[in-house]
Structure formats: C-alpha cells, structure tokens
C-alpha cells in the first residue's frame, strides 16, 4: 500500500512491513507489527510513543542491536542506501555501525568506555575507518569536540568520561557519532531524557545545528512531545507496536487526527488549553499486553470512538494530505463521507 510512495533518491532508510517479535518463555511479544517508515536524507524523523510502543525496537532493528534471540524478525525489509540490511552479513553490518549509522543513547555513560580518555575514544573511531596517524586522529577529535561546543576541547580530550558532566558526556557521545567520513544516519534514542531541562535545551539546539552543518539524517526516539516539537521534521506516532499516525510536525501538533495522538497531546499539562484548568483530559485504561494482543486496533480498549470493526481488524491507511496519514476506522469513515 505504501510501496513506492517514498522511494527515490532522497530516501536514506526505508523500513518495509517490519514485523518484529520477541519469543519469551510466556509466549510471543509482538513488539513491532507491519511497520513501514522511510527516513529522507537530511531530515529528522521522530518515532514517538509511550514505553512498550516499539519505538526503540524499530530503531535497534536498523543497526541490529536488538538481542537476537529472543528477538526475531518475523518479516519485512530494511533498506539503507539501497542495501537490504537484514540480508547483509554480520561483518558488513558492523562496518556500517559507527560509520554510516551511528547512535547516541539516553545514558552516555553506558556507551563510553570508562577507562579511556574521550579523545582517544573518538580518535579510535577515526582510525578504524581511515588510515591516519594517531596524532592526526587526535587533532580531528579536538575539531569534533569544538563542533559539539565543548569548551577548551584541546584540554577536554584528555578527560575520562566520569570527569565530564552529564551534558558534556552527551556532547562527547555526539562527537563520537560524528567521527566518521560519511555520517548518514544518527539514531538518537531518548538523547535528553536523563538531562536537566536547561541542558536538554542546549543539546537539542546542538543537534538541530549539526543536522544542518553536517547534513545527516536523525532518527529521534522519544516519549516527550515537547522534544518532538523542538526537533522533528516528520513524526511517526506509535502505539503498542503499530504506526497509528504519520505527519509533518506542524500538522501533527495543529491537526492531530488519531484519537491516541489527540489523547497524548491532551495528556500534557503544558498544553496551552489547560491554563487555569483543574483537570486534564486523560486517556483512561492501560496499554494492552503485547503477549495477548489481537488483530484489531491496539487502541480500541481506550478509545472513545470504538466500533466493532476496531476490535476485529487493523484499519487501512487514511490519507489526510500528502504529508499526513492516519490509521483509524473512525477517521476512515469520516473522511469517506466528506
């Protein structure tokens, strides 16, 4: 259905009908179901959703960091620069990781090696991909730290990760992700969740600047609608393993269509409509268990517009505009009538 829609020269990553399961003792967790997403060159695509919606699993399916087993790709394809990543040999995936596909994590401490200085860690990334001397690589590391706005970078390269503050560590992590001759995709998994809000603002600004100067694509994973609104070009809203809405960032915030997206925005106390209010319009109920989830719309049990059809089958795509798609029986019917 969405095949051919986003293929073309400007597409960097294309995930097609991905089904990703975790086979655990108690059964099969259907973490990602029938998901198609494309990331264009130079754009920031955001996967947003609450815990367990499958956003991280999707991102990790690209650079194959999901634990396998218990993880299993049930079906689907992931193209990166026209290579099908799921059929590539392990050695080639490893070569892609850190060069063309880099990653920054929520907690940079887990990704930085505590016993090496950040300078040597960045230099090492250079040296694995390019034949340059250690001195040259260190000089490049200084340049990178300067690029990510770490003050006095020529001194900081001699610091160990624990000597840096949380915000500085995240900057160093970003520098490492950039230490490649041809950065293509940066996967940012909740990059600011562990940071204070003033530091978060700095990191978001930095990422936005870098996107322009370096010209890479960012796949941003977040649960925070505020971060989405600060960073995203396009947004994919996920719920319980499914894509429920996809839109450019302005349409999503100004004309949210899916009842879940609406509910999510209404759950934010920062929503301007709550000035002086005493109650939030919360979504009742809880996320369904991915072990026992059926074929219907996963949001059906919490949705105010639920119909019989919603419980039985997952809806087809409804096109709102060229950049705005939604998967909802209720809206399908409405749009059909118009």
């Amino acid at each position: 259905m969405s095949e051919g829609k986003h293929t073309g020269d400007d597409v960097l990553v294309s995930i097609e009908n991905l089904n990703f399961n975790f086979n655990i003792q108690r059964g099969i967790v259907k973490a990602v179901r029938d998901l198609s997403v494309t990331i264009k060159k130079g754009e920031t695509l955001t996967l947003v959703g609450e815990s367990g919606c499958g956003k991280s699993v999707t991102a990790h399916a690209i650079n194959q960091l999901n634990p396998m087993p218990p993880g299993v790709v049930e079906s689907g394809k992931i193209y990166f620069r026209d290579k099908d990543l799921l059929t590539l040999p392990k050695s080639q995936i490893e070569a892609l990781r850190g060069t063309q596909i880099s990653m920054i994590f929520q907690e940079p401490m887990t990704a930085l090696n505590p016993v090496f200085t950040i300078g040597s860690q960045i230099a090492d990334v250079y040296r694995t991909h390019q034949r340059i001397s250690k001195k040259e690589a260190l000089a490049k590391a200084v340049e990178l730290l300067d690029l990510v706005k770490i003050p006095s970078p020529d001194e900081r390269i001699h610091n160990y990760p624990h000597q840096l503050s949380g915000g500085m560590r995240q900057r160093a992590m970003i520098a490492m992700a950039l230490a490649s001759p041809e950065p293509g995709l940066m996967i940012a998994d909740e990059p600011t969740t562990a940071l204070d809000v003033t530091i978060q603002a700095q990191i978001l600004d930095l990422l936005n600047d870098l996107k322009k100067t370096v010209g890479m694509s960012i796949l941003l994973i977040t649960h925070d609608m505020g971060v989405v609104s600060e960073m995203a070009d396009r947004v994919v809203v996920m719920y319980a393993g499914r894509k429920v809405e996809e839109a450019d960032v302005f349409s999503l915030f100004e004309e949210p269509k899916h009842p879940y997206t609406l509910g999510l925005l209404n759950s934010l106390p920062s929503n301007p409509k709550y000035r002086g209010a005493k109650r939030l319009e919360a979504i009742d109920g809880t996320v369904p268990d991915l072990l026992t989830i059926g074929e219907g719309c996963p949001f059906a049990n919490r949705c105010g517009f639920v119909k019989d059809k919603c419980l039985k089958e997952f809806p087809e795509e409804t096109k709102i505009s060229d950049d705005h798609f939604v998967w909802c029986h209720h809206l399908q019917q409405q749009e059909g009538r118009v």
Partner: protein
C-alpha cells in the same frame, strides 16, 4: 482558603558528608539544602521546582524527618518536628504522608497489595483486622484499583497502578499534609495525566495540603497554587502560580521557562535561549549568587555576595541583586 500555616520551615540546612573516592580519602560536604525558609498554608499546593541537585527532594524528605537536619527548624502546626520523641513522631505520621517517585522501588516487593496498603493501619492499630481489610478495599476503590486484586504482588501491576497503590497507602491514615516527591515523573504521559487528575480529585475531596516536588515545570505549573523555584540548595523565587508564570523575575526562573520545550513546533523558529553552561556541583557551589556563572546579567556584586530573598510584591519574593534594592 484559610490562612493557617500547616508547615513552617525556618532556615533549614541539610548537608551530607560524602567521602570522595580517590587517592586521598577526602571528606566533602554536599550542601543539598542550604538555608531554606518557607510556609505552607492549609489547603494549598506548593509546587517546588528545580533541576537535579537543587535539593528539592532532600527538602521534601527532611521536612518529613526522613533525614536528620543539619540546622534550622521545621514546625508542623507550630510544633518543632525535630524536637519530637519517637511516640510523638509516630503520631505525626498520621498527619503527614509522602508519595514517592519510583513506583518500582517504593513498594515492598515481598508484600501483597493488601499488606502494603494495610500496613499503616496495622502499625497504628486502627480497628480490628476485618475493619482494616474493609478499609483497604475502600482505599483501593478510591484510587481507582479493583479490590479484587488485593492479594496480588506489586510486580503484577503496571507503573501507573503501582503509583495508585502508593497513593492508597499514603491515604490510609487520613493525613492532612502530603509530600509528593516526583510522584508522576516516572510515568508515561497518558498515565501521568491520570495520576495528576487523581491527586487533584483527592485534594478537593479531602482538603489535602500538598508539597508537590518535581523537575517538570509543566506539571508543577498545572497542579500548584504557589510555586517555589530552587537552585543549588536555595530558594531563588517564590510566588503564587499566576504571578510566577506571568511575571517571573529571577534569571534562572526565566531560563527554566525558556528551556522548557513547548508543544508548538512553530515557536522553535528563531527561538533564542539564554542559559549556557552546566549546573555546578552542590559540593562546590559558586561564590556569591550560585547562578552567576550562567547568568547573562551577572555583576561583580553577584560574584561576591549571595542575594537575600526579598519580597518584590505581596507574596512574590526573589533572590537576585537586580531586584534586591
């Protein structure tokens, strides 16, 4: 709103001594709370906001006497909390309660839900065991849990449901004052909204007084009637919510409001942010005003002397030299 003070904090100081890891075993002092004074009136929701290391959580726990104080006073309805003997403290726990951040570590994993919620009743020997069991069921209903599940263990519930269990436990003894320490921070957005609604519903039903601690400005702004901003162990600004939201004066408060991501993607275009730099360590707070290294308006005086908290209009106080005289 009545104007009776339920809690008075006078120049409260809480320092922790930590031993620095390294070659020289050096003792360092973390100035978590460094001279905080505040009042909480009956029926109000005082929001306390600040970033990590600002001491807001320590303040909440010290006010509950879960930490010892270093100096200063905490008066609960005029009575010195730290002067109380064990029996008096036990009685006080029927008046003040706390709701914790992490719904995973704040419930004893070896206790069934009925035991968790019923524990305060048992400790204070409230009623017979069948009365206690009835009360547990009523409490579960009140916080939106099905009493059928009272024999389950905490790990069998979702994060939001576990937070509801924690709230039920805090309600068991019919307190009048509740400290909510990051009570919704660990929850997903949609669940966070449910819990915020629950807290507000309970407040209007029981006339609770809340001290609501959070790093999330939006949450504090939504729930509070008055807001206090902390930075590195000190109060930098305090005012009624409306006043603070519209006329915040302290450069740090401004920075917080500006840094907070909006839900309007169009506002990000051309947005300029003021604050650079990191939050300094509470072990070595900067001289003078703790905020001066990050403040765009810092003067020599700011670098030398800490500004006192001055009332700039009724109920609105700021600790900044720019508004000091």
């Amino acid at each position: 709103m009545k104007d009776t003070k339920i809690l008075e904090v006078k120049n409260l100081v809480k320092h922790f001594t930590v031993t620095a890891q390294g070659a020289s075993e050096q003792k360092q002092v973390v100035r978590a709370v460094d001279g905080v004074s505040l009042d909480i009136k009956e029926g109000e929701i005082l929001g306390i906001v600040g970033e990590s290391g600002c001491g807001k959580s320590t303040l909440g726990k010290t006010v509950m006497r879960l930490h010892d104080k270093t100096s200063g006073e905490v008066l609960y309805r005029g009575e010195d909390l730290f002067g109380m003997k064990r029996d008096q403290m036990k009685d006080i726990s029927t008046h003040m309660q706390m709701i914790f951040q992490d719904p995973y570590s704040s419930l004893n994993p070896r206790k069934k839900v009925s035991q968790v919620i019923g524990q305060p009743l048992r400790i204070h020997s409230v009623g017979s065991s069948s009365e206690q069991s009835d009360r547990v069921e009523a409490l579960m209903e009140e916080v939106g849990l099905n009493p059928k599940f009272k024999r389950r263990y905490p790990h069998q519930f979702s994060g939001g449901q576990r937070q509801r269990i924690g709230i039920a436990r805090a309600l068991a003894l019919d307190p009048e004052f509740i400290v909510c320490d990051e009570a919704v921070s660990a929850l997903d957005v949609s669940v966070q909204a449910q819990i915020l609604n629950l807290l507000l519903d309970l407040q209007s039903k029981h006339q609770f007084t809340y001290m609501f601690i959070s790093h999330d400005l939006a949450v504090v702004e939504f729930i509070s009637t008055r807001i206090l901003v902390m930075y590195l162990g000190r109060v930098v600004e305090i005012a009624d919510k409306k006043e603070l939201v519209q006329k915040h004066l302290h450069p740090y408060t401004k920075a917080l409001f500006e840094a907070f991501p909006t839900t309007d993607p169009r506002s990000r275009i051309g947005k300029k942010r003021v604050v650079m730099g990191d939050v300094p360590s509470p072990i070595y707070p900067p001289s003078g005003c703790h905020f001066h290294p990050r403040c765009p308006f810092a003067t020599d005086k700011c670098r030398m002397e800490y500004p006192p908290l001055k009332e700039v209009s009724p109920g609105h106080s700021v600790a900044c030299w720019e508004f000091g005289s």
